[in-house]
C-alpha cells in the first residue's frame, strides 16, 4: 500500500511539526483512499515533547470537514522530536484508526526531517496490541 501526498501539503505538514518544536505536533490528512487532498494541522493539547493528543474542538471540526467533503481520514501524523520515525509502544497502544496511515515525522535532523507511514492493524480496533505495517509515502 502507498499514500500519495502533494508536495505543498507535505511541506505544510513538516512546517507544522517544526513550528511545534520542542513539543510534538500533530494533524490530520483527508482524501480519497490512498491519496491526500486536505491538511488539518491540529494543536497538541498535551503540549509535550513525548506525547500528543489533538485539541478536541479542532479535531472534531477536521473530522466534520472530511465528512462534509465525502473524504476519509487517510492520515494521522505527529512528530517525534528526538527519536526515529518509528511507532513507539505508546503509538501502537493508542492507535485506533485501522484504515488511517499513521505518519511520524522525525525532527532528529531539523534540517532534513524524515517521515515514515504505517498502518497499525488490530484484531479489534479498541485493542492495545497491534501489527505495524509500513506504508510507502509518495510525495508528488
Amino acid at each position: 500500500m502507498k499514500l500519495t501526498i502533494p508536495k505543498d501539503i507535505y511541506d505544510q505538514m513538516i512546517q507544522h511539526c517544526k513550528d511545534g518544536f520542542p513539543n510534538e505536533a500533530c494533524g490530520f490528512l483527508g482524501g480519497p483512499p490512498g491519496s491526500v487532498e486536505r491538511h488539518y494541522p491540529l494543536p497538541n493539547a498535551a503540549a509535550s515533547p513525548v506525547y500528543y493528543r489533538p485539541g478536541d474542538k479542532e479535531m472534531i471540526a477536521a473530522v466534520n470537514d472530511i465528512d462534509e467533503h465525502d473524504l476519509e481520514l487517510v492520515g494521522i501524523y505527529h512528530s517525534h522530536v528526538a527519536s526515529a520515525p518509528k511507532p513507539s509502544p505508546t503509538d501502537v497502544r493508542e492507535a485506533h484508526y485501522p484504515d488511517s496511515v499513521y505518519l511520524i515525522v522525525s525532527l532528529m535532523d531539523m534540517e532534513s526531517p524524515e517521515t515514515k507511514g504505517y498502518l497499525i492493524k488490530k484484531a479489534d480496533w479498541r485493542d492495545e496490541a497491534g501489527d505495524v505495517i509500513e506504508v510507502d509515502l509518495v510525495i508528488s
Binding site: V50, Y52, D56, K57, V63, N64, S83, H96, R126
Partner: protein
C-alpha cells in the same frame, strides 16, 4: 428537532453505513442505550465490559468531552450534536 449523533468511520459498519443518526433527547446513557437496542454492535463497541464508556472511545456533546461534563449522565437536548470518536493520541515513548 432531535439529537444528531455523528458516527466515526470505524463504527459505520455497525450502523448500516450511516455517517450520522438521529436520536431522542435525554440523558446520554439512555440515548446511547436506545441506539444500542437498534444497533447492538454499536453498543458493544462503545461501552466497556464494566458498562461504562470504553477507555478508547471519546464522546462529545457540542464539541465538549463528556468526561469533563457529567459523563454518561450528561443531558442532551433538541438540536445538540453528539460525536463518537475513537481516541487519538500517541508519542515518542
Amino acid at each position: 428537532m432531535s439529537v444528531t449523533v455523528n458516527i466515526p468511520a470505524v463504527l459505520r459498519p455497525a450502523v448500516g453505513g450511516s455517517k450520522s443518526l438521529e436520536a431522542d433527547p435525554g440523558q446520554l446513557r439512555d440515548l446511547l442505550g436506545n441506539l444500542g437496542e437498534q444497533y447492538p454492535a454499536l453498543k458493544q463497541q462503545v461501552f466497556g465490559e464494566d458498562g461504562g464508556l470504553h477507555k478508547f472511545v471519546n464522546l462529545y456533546v457540542n464539541d465538549e468531552d463528556v468526561r469533563y461534563l457529567e459523563g454518561l449522565d450528561t443531558k442532551v437536548g433538541d438540536g445538540d450534536t453528539v460525536a463518537i470518536l475513537p481516541a487519538v493520541a500517541g508519542g515518542a515513548l
